[in-house]
């Protein structure tokens, strides 16, 4: 008999009376069905947004960076704000897939696939901003250290901006590999039950010819573990390096050692909020409530309240250090953040990131789907403002009062941002239709320990005394 045991204190990760076959049916169903009206409406809307984004970018490339609202004082505006925001969102996916794997958190199996997809799409969106911010985008490849005919002249490897190039591109590549290696067995599942020839052919290619051989699974497990081990420091390094873009400069408000942990916490905070937004919609529309349970949502809300509090402590530490340092430039920078012309962005950040997530200390609210959904959007608005506050309100009043300015975005900047939403959701809708949104093999792996029906079968054993249990099973292993 099966004696995989998990405490009854833990709630089931898979609800309902599931068999291995039922798991396959439930998760592959959306791929095999025609998408509903909601899907078409959402997809078309995303593509329209994407087209508007492409037009906005075309406008900027055609006329030059001058069509944006940025100027000589505020050199980084919405573009870099959006870059940092999108990269941050990506971090939750890697946290779920890698760090929670190392910590043996079973609940990650329900959400890791979609969260990793979100990571990849978010990093794709993020990458657009620094590239088009370069202005002469056709020279973007100059950042790569390739042997060229100009010397060869190399990029400056001591620059935090070049570290970013390496960090973001490595992060994207490794996330993609990690995600896809997990997808291979699930594509094979879709392939082997495909009814139409076209689907069989396409998923045959996508599954790389996977058959589920025992030796292949052994290597797959080893690969997943090592990739998780590599991704864990990688994800921490990526936002650390993004924060170096600021921290290695000498701008008041940026030149602080707290930036790396503060950015990483903020990234996980905003990323989990985005995972909540996407998964609350997904589980409802695709009827995956049995796999993405209230327990999953609660677990993620706990991460949100933890990282939100870390971010709050970081904000207060910044203020304290500005006062304690007795540097007037630091003090003025923070003073103007709070009461200066951009006071509204500072207070939006404080309210959305520090105050409102504290409501998640209440269990009732953590397990309330509507409340969680609203909070997930509030958090992401707050985290966007955090990046805006850090970037714009540190730049707009520099050392020379004659060049003080006020920055507002123009329509191509806003259009660019909306366009990345279009890109993100276009990709996500395609993912939801053509990819197994939940890791099928991983759910099957935890089903017998954490499935509701299997946990119920353990009830009689749970009631036995230890002596009775030993008497019964003493010979089981001989």
């Amino acid at each position: 008999m099966h004696l995989k045991y998990e405490s009854f204190v833990r709630e089931p990760l898979v609800n309902g009376d599931k068999t291995y076959h039922q798991v396959t049916e439930d998760i592959v169903r959306p791929i095999e069905q025609k998408p509903g009206r909601m899907w078409y409406a959402g997809f078309i809307f995303s593509v329209i947004l994407l087209c508007f984004g492409v037009f906005s970018v075309f406008w900027e490339v055609y006329w030059g960076i001058g069509v944006w609202g940025i100027n000589r004082t505020v050199g980084w505006g919405w573009d870099i704000t959006n870059f940092v925001w999108w990269v941050g969102i990506g971090h939750a996916g890697t946290l779920i897939s890698a760090i929670l794997l190392l910590f043996r958190q079973g609940w990650r199996t329900g959400v890791n696939r979609a969260a990793e997809a979100m990571t990849i799409f978010a990093v794709m969106c993020a990458g657009q901003f620094p590239i088009f911010h370069m202005g002469r985008v056709w020279d973007a490849f100059y950042v790569l250290p390739y042997p060229n005919t100009r010397g060869p002249l190399w990029p400056n490897f001591n620059s935090a901006l070049l570290w970013d190039v390496f960090a973001i591109s490595t992060y994207f590549t490794v996330s993609l590999l990690f995600w896809y290696s997990g997808l291979i067995p699930d594509f094979a599942t879709v392939r082997d039950r495909a009814k139409t020839k076209f689907r069989k052919m396409m998923y045959g290619i996508a599954s790389f010819g996977w058959t589920g051989s025992a030796k292949n699974w052994q290597r797959h497990e080893a690969l997943s573990l090592v990739l998780a081990g590599l991704s864990t420091p990688l994800v921490l390094s990526v936002h650390t390096i993004v924060s170096f873009d600021f921290a290695t400069s000498v701008i008041p408000g940026w030149h602080t050692t707290i930036f790396p942990p503060y950015f990483v916490a903020g990234a996980i905070f905003s990323g989990f909020a985005m995972v909540q937004t996407l998964l609350i919609l997904c589980r409802r529309i695709m009827r995956l409530e049995d796999y993405i349970t209230i327990g999953h949502i609660e677990a993620m809300n706990k991460v949100i309240v933890l990282t939100g509090s870390i971010v709050g402590v970081a904000y207060l530490t910044e203020l304290f250090i500005a006062w304690y340092s007795q540097v007037i430039y630091e003090q003025d920078a923070f003073n103007w953040r709070i009461v200066g012309p951009y006071w509204w962005s500072y207070w939006a950040m404080m309210t959305c990131n520090v105050v409102s997530p504290q409501l998640f200390w209440f269990k009732k609210l953590r397990r309330n789907i509507v409340f969680t959904f609203i909070m997930s959007i509030v958090v992401n608005i707050g985290m966007w403002f955090e990046r805006f506050v850090i970037i714009v309100t540190s730049l707009y009043r520099d050392y020379l009062p004659g060049s003080w300015t006020y920055y507002s975005p123009t329509w191509p900047e806003i259009g660019f941002y909306l366009g990345t939403f279009g890109l993100f959701f276009t990709c996500f809708f395609l993912f939801a239709k053509y990819f197994p949104v939940i890791a099928i093999a991983e759910i099957k792996f935890v089903l017998k320990t954490s499935g509701e029906n299997y946990k119920k079968k353990m009830e009689p054993i749970e009631e036995e005394s230890t002596e009775e249990f030993i008497q019964k099973h003493v010979d089981a292993h001989h």
Partner: protein, 190 residues
């Protein structure tokens, strides 16, 4: 590349599969492979597979990335094109760390995934024989290689006695070939 004859047994529970694997290995029949819909822990030991060396390959790739990054940046900034950045040393090791780390991870990950694909013989366009379409769904499938020394019926009866829910005999290619999955062939026809 070899076309062989297999006796195939399907089990619907991994708890039945383990004793079956043990019995087959003790019986001396040639166990071709076991296919499962998800990783079954302990199955590799039960089959007598040794631990994979994939992580060692990963380590070697990682070290290659580290030395590539460090060597390349040091060579550029100390000998190929030294640039004075605010009077700082040409060989500024702390500033090289981020890129060194990123390349270590990049080399290790890319190298490992490629090695994984190579060892498992998987690639887009690769086709292998699938003994049962539900071996990626809910069945645990064991294939035993048949040859002239064993009787077909004897093996099938033996497999049934181990608790198989379904048994049959198949002639199939034992390795991979290039092929399309929407075509029905069990081995390369061309």
């Amino acid at each position: 590349m070899a076309i062989k004859k297999f006796a195939v047994a399907c089990y619907d529970d991994e708890a039945v599969l383990f004793p079956a694997v043990k019995k087959v290995r003790n019986s001396g029949y040639k166990l071709h492979d076991v296919y499962t819909p998800f990783p079954v822990h302990g199955l590799d030991q039960a089959l007598g597979h040794k631990e994979t060396d994939l992580h060692i390959a990963g380590f070697i790739y990682g070290i290659t990335g580290t030395s590539t990054a460090l060597g390349f940046m040091s060579w550029i900034f100390t000998s190929d094109w030294p640039v004075n950045f605010g009077g700082k040393p040409h060989f500024s090791l702390p500033a090289f760390i981020p890129i060194t780390f990123e390349l270590t991870v990049l080399f290790a990950a890319v190298g490992m995934v490629l090695t994984f694909c190579y060892l498992n013989q998987i690639m887009p366009g690769v086709k292998k024989h699938v003994f049962h379409p539900r071996q990626t769904d809910d069945l645990f499938v064991m294939a035993i290689e048949l040859n002239e020394h064993v009787s077909e019926q004897e093996v099938i009866d033996f497999l049934k006695s181990t608790g198989a829910v379904e048994t049959n005999v198949q002639v199939a290619e034992s390795e991979w070939w290039y092929g399309r999955w929407d075509k029905e062939e069990a081995y390369q026809t061309a």
